[in-house]
Symmetry: none
């Protein structure tokens, strides 16, 4: 595994205490004093390991963001390769025919991988999504929306071109991207365990694909 087991070192104790404090109070209201006290360590020690308050937050959150980014990047890369390589047939797999097959949107494996990872770093996920106001990560989810948007756009444009339809409006794609990301975030936020989320996932995908396919209907 990539993650070191907590070894009770000062740094680990600080990170643990910080996580708890950030979870309870959010970045802005969190108190370094409290963190140090709970870690059983002096303020000076904190500043030996971390440059400042935000750096401390970063140290907790960054690895998770990076890893999630990587999973997504691989997923996008994979879909892109399918797309560029194999023309209209595959396109249907990705888009229109998706809801007629039991493995909607290609397959669920990427979604499951992401979920599995996020649930195993639940606190960090919460920190990123709900407690990062005041840090550079407060727009983190939006960045993912942007990214996903670009991805969706390339798929949609490609599909429309090959089917002789006019392009989906960027605004709509942005909204869809946002909708997708938001659904995923919401699942993790509202469903306590990976196991349950796993069970729900097909319904979610079905719903999202339903909306997605609507975009390519003739009558609009």
């Amino acid at each position: 595994m990539l993650q070191k087991i907590s070894d009770g070192s000062t740094k680990e104790k600080l990170l643990e205490a910080a996580k708890k404090e950030f979870m309870q109070n959010g970045f802005l209201k969190a108190s370094l004093r409290t963190i140090c006290k709970n870690a059983g360590v002096t303020t000076g020690a904190l500043y030996f390991f971390f440059h400042d308050k935000e750096d401390l937050f970063d140290s907790i959150v960054k690895p998770v963001i990076d890893h999630a980014t990587q999973i997504l990047a691989e997923h996008f890369k994979h879909e892109d390769s399918l797309l560029s390589g194999s023309g209209p047939v595959l396109m249907q797999t990705l888009v229109h025919e998706a809801n007629k097959k039991d493995s909607a949107k290609g397959d669920l494996s990427t979604a499951l991988a992401i979920f599995r990872y996020l649930y195993s770093h639940y606190d960090e996920f919460i920190l990123i999504v709900q407690k990062s106001q005041g840090t550079k990560w407060e727009g983190c989810v939006n960045s993912f929306v942007d990214w996903n948007y670009k991805h969706l756009k390339s798929i949609a444009d490609s599909y429309c071109k090959s089917h002789g339809k006019k392009k989906i409006k960027p605004f709509v794609l942005r909204m869809v991207s946002n909708s997708q990301i938001n659904c995923f975030v919401n699942i993790v936020l509202n469903i306590p365990s990976f196991k349950e989320a796993e069970k729900h996932l097909p319904y979610v995908m079905h719903y999202l694909v339903g909306g997605w396919c609507t975009l390519f209907d003739e009558n609009i």
Copy 2:
């Protein structure tokens, strides 16, 4: 109109300065001192008009929340009355057939009313949605999701019953509710003017209805 035009009174100056400061820094980081300074007023004056920092925030935000709530309440009431009064035929209007008609989801009038109102109180809307961390309104959007969920559930249950289908899972409805609210919020957040939003609205509705109708498909 219900809203008084700013008359340059101390209270108005304070509210104006507060709005600006809250917009810039969010509730937690906002400084009352700065607000007073920018309003050209002493700290004491602020406390003559407002009970405390949160009361100041409230005074800006509450009327907008109340009004939006009222619009929604009327909308829900209206749909409920259609539902209870007229059986399966209308149900189709509300649900399944929606995407086959140009007035999806009944009609767009409620959505437009809400949008028109929110755009005319843009700053307040931003404050509620993005700057209210640390106040009692930080979960405000979630409350709307909950509310909408109850509404969707009654519609869905009623429809399923009359069509002999098994109920939609609560979790799915919750997700859909969240998705809908999130889309609307996102439009206001990302589209600068009401005029543009108005143009986009049909696409949005089409997308949302698409997802919604998927729920009632046979094959899941």
Copy 3:
């Protein structure tokens, strides 16, 4: 009666609210804001009737102090007149023989009069004794001790002179004076009703006279 019945006028309402606030919080912690709010009156009104915070406190407390002072003054004057007029015989009444009679220290009438008055102005008494820190009255009880000391001294000196004994040391007399006043204050503070205090009074006097007479014993 000297005391006007509260007529619900603004001034009366202020005095009433002030009394309550001063009782609860003492002079220093008392808030004029709170007083005005409870009186249902604005701050400005308060400053129409009273010069400042201390003046407000004074207005409540001064009449009671004055009246108590007057009662005492009459008592002292009366005892002085007995003293100057009638030589050694009366002296015994006042002092040494006191504890052999059932009406110790002359009689209890003065004490009863004072008690009756204080109990009928209980709140004001508490204010003077326990809540006046920060006002010019915070040493009020000490003034009474001083005054009583002068009185005791004249009695003691006169007695000693006429009995050929050497004078009681001023320090001792001061202590005795303090002891007496303190006992009286303590009774009012610890015994809730005049009726009960009246019952206890003889024991108190017996105790005080016991100590007082000790001063004139031969063997010291």
Copy 4:
């Protein structure tokens, strides 16, 4: 000695400045700002050493209260052991015969010890007795009165029982207790030096014992 000599450290400077400020203004009116300024230290420094304003006051006053309490406790314990161990004879020493001997109330050693201690912590004593309003110590003297009352009661009850007299009324004993404590406090308050107080002490004891013995007179 238990007390460290002021070493000019920040904490010592703060305590010194605080003592001065509390003496001048009492707890409530004392300003932490002023204290820090006079200590030549920033506000933050104060809060490194003390939890809050009251903790600062406590740190000055608590050791003295504790020590005085201890001295008294030992004294009470000693008297109790005499009482339980040796019957009526000693009882006379403690009570009735006290005024016929030159070492009234057993001996003066406890009183002297207390005085010596209090005079060597004069400022702290003043703080406790006169400047503690608003802190948990404002009723401190009353606690001592209560304590002494319980002690007096056990002595008095024991004496009355062994002499076949009916018990002294609790109210009277409470008053006597108050009177004794009050006298002692008053001495320290009014007599500037231990040396003088020492000279006066026999008179004080004589007076107090005089009153005390009166309680056991036949004719009341």
